[in-house]
């Protein structure tokens, strides 16, 4: 039986209660929207990217504890990183959530650090989409694709 403490780790509860970087940086030059309509999670992500470096990051929106904490911790993790490093981190995180060695290999150059706390979410498969929403939104913002992303499929 999966344990609640594994999904709701202290660091996750903390970031849910006090989300970091929740704001709209005035000079942002990239934006993307992530929306999981079934659970009602929504995030608008703003990046300031200059010379291939993510100089600032912020977001607005609302969602469950997992998606809120994920957005908050993602914002801390990528701030100051190069776009390549952020992409690599996305791969690592994705690999962590999907238990996929290929992704881990691709993201080998970066460290997950605190983000490892999300490993417990894997035991709750239907919550994985909550943890990955902010990251897929980051990917969309970096690509500047202009599409609203979702990590949900299927119906109610």
């Amino acid at each position: 039986m999966p344990e609640l403490r594994e999904i709701y780790q202290e660091v996750i509860l903390d970031h849910n209660k006090n989300p970091r970087n929740r704001r709209c940086p005035p000079e942002a030059n990239r934006i993307a929207v992530g929306h999981n309509p079934l659970c009602g999670d929504k995030i608008t992500l703003y990046l300031l990217v200059e010379d291939g470096v993510i100089r600032d990051v912020g977001y607005e929106g609302s969602g469950c504890a997992i998606s809120t904490a994920s957005a908050s911790m993602m914002s801390e993790a990528v701030k100051g990183k190069t776009v390549e490093e952020a992409e690599a981190l996305f791969c690592r995180f994705h690999a962590l959530m999907m238990a996929c060695p290929q992704g881990a290999e691709n993201g080998r150059r970066v460290e997950l650090g605190k983000l490892r706390a999300f490993a417990g979410v894997r035991e709750f498969p239907i919550r994985v989409k909550c943890a990955t929403l902010a990251w897929h939104t980051l990917e969309a913002a970096l690509k500047n694709s202009g599409e609203t992303v979702s990590t949900e499929t299927g119906s109610e």
């Binding site: 039986m1 509860l13 659970c39 969602g63």
Partner: protein, 422 residues
């Protein structure tokens, strides 16, 4: 006590056997199972109900002893299967108090029934600048088929508002009826918030202008006594799986005169009398709307489910669920930071709520660990969620086999949520 309640009590005294929830529970094999080592507390009945042994056995018996196609063979088995299938249609007729069995069309469920009416009736009667009128509390399945129709025809979808409590605003509804309105489609009981709509008044208002009315009864039939003739609605739709029957089967009730004038919905076998490449003669109703081999076992299972509900007695079920609803309302309000969404005058079956400290999705995951199954999300009613300014809610919905202990288990689990997030 209201008149309706008095009548119901009187009805119980006259017809129904005493209600014994322990005995009812024993009829549902799944209620014995455990989840994460804890007894299953199933409070997601608005999504689908569990099935009594009688339904499971009826389906098994069909496949073990009676399996054959219907309406097609001269052989004994086919005759037998046809009798069973048509017997189920008669059971549905009796349950809805329809005049004739040919007014009952078997479909995959409420959704397909609505699509059938939108396609067959709607496409023939709704034209440019016409209007279809629905309410702000519809399930997506009673919104999207009309949107598709209106888009195709250049017609307009109008939406009657609900007030802050979650009740339909009848005056506004009436004002929205006009010579342009070609069809009214209204939910009987809303799945998101649980209010019971004044469908009788809705039908009268629409009929005063000669407008036909479809009622979405998906959440009503498990909880309320229904008489489509007394209600005088033109179409009534429901799903078997929400009333203790199997998934994949449901029904459309339509007044014979209307069904007869409607063009077919899908083409294929069974819905025709004769086919040549030049011309096809359509079968009579209801077969005109049942193209292809139907879900025979499903229909038989649905018949068994309705028989079961009748044997328990809907007045008994309604009384028991009303007690659960009021017990749950009080118990839930004892949880710190809990807000009940939708305070309609009359509710059936479902309680929607939010917690200050936790998102519905987190509530769902945590109470699940306690073996308590509830629904979280937008309940296929995003416009309702928007109306109340919440992205999602948690919803507990009741069936005849639920108990006050089930409610206690939910409340205890919610206290765990508050502990973790509060």
């Amino acid at each position: 006590m209201s008149n309706a309640a008095l009548e119901m009590e009187a009805a119980i005294r006259v017809e129904a056997p005493p209600f014994d929830v322990a005995k009812v529970r024993a009829d549902f094999p799944i209620l014995r199972r455990r989840v994460y080592g804890k007894p299953l507390v199933y409070l997601d009945n608005a999504a689908t109900t569990q099935k009594p042994r009688r339904v499971i056995e009826a389906i098994t018996r069909f496949y073990e002893e009676e399996c054959s196609n219907v309406h097609r063979g001269v052989h004994w088995l086919s005759q037998r299967a046809t009798d069973r299938y048509e017997g189920a249609r008669e059971t549905v007729r009796r349950f809805l108090h329809a005049a004739e069995a040919r007014e009952i069309v078997f479909t995959r469920g409420a959704t397909e029934s609505i699509n059938l009416v939108a396609n067959a009736y709607g496409r023939a009667h709704v034209g440019r600048d016409d209007e279809v009128l629905i309410t702000a509390m519809e399930h997506h399945s009673n919104i999207v088929p009309w949107q598709i129709l209106c888009e195709e025809k250049g017609a307009r979808l109008r939406v009657a508002p609900i007030d802050n409590r979650g009740d339909l605003v009848l005056d506004e509804f009436k004002n929205l009826l006009s010579h342009r309105t070609k069809l009214v489609a209204v939910v009987h009981v809303s799945n998101a918030l649980g209010p019971v709509n004044p469908v009788k008044a809705v039908v009268e208002m629409a009929h005063a202008r000669g407008i036909p009315v479809l009622i979405d009864g998906a959440q009503a039939v498990p909880h309320l006594h229904l008489d489509v003739r007394a209600l005088d609605c033109d179409f009534y739709v429901f799903s078997g799986h929400k009333i203790y029957g199997p998934t994949g089967i449901g029904a459309l009730y339509g007044k014979a005169a209307l069904l007869e004038r409607m063009p077919p919905y899908q083409g294929g076998g069974d819905m025709i009398l004769s086919v040549t490449f030049e011309k096809t003669l359509y079968n009579t109703i209801p077969y005109k709307f049942e193209a292809g081999t139907p879900d025979i076992a499903g229909a038989i299972g649905l018949g068994a489910a309705l028989d079961y509900v009748e044997s328990i007695g809907l007045p008994n079920i309604a009384m028991h669920e009303r007690d659960l609803m009021s017990y749950a309302t009080h118990a839930l309000l004892g949880v710190p930071g809990l807000r009940i969404i939708g305070q309609a005058r009359e509710k059936a079956g479902a309680l929607s709520f939010t917690l200050d400290c936790a998102h519905p999705h987190d509530i769902g995951t945590i109470v699940d660990q306690e073996g308590v199954a509830i629904r979280t999300g937008h309940h296929c009613a995003q416009p309702v969620m928007e109306r109340y300014g919440v992205p999602a809610t948690a919803r507990a919905s009741f069936a005849m086999y639920n108990t006050r202990e089930d409610v206690d288990a939910l409340v205890q689990a919610l206290h765990k949520v508050v502990e973790l997030f509060g």
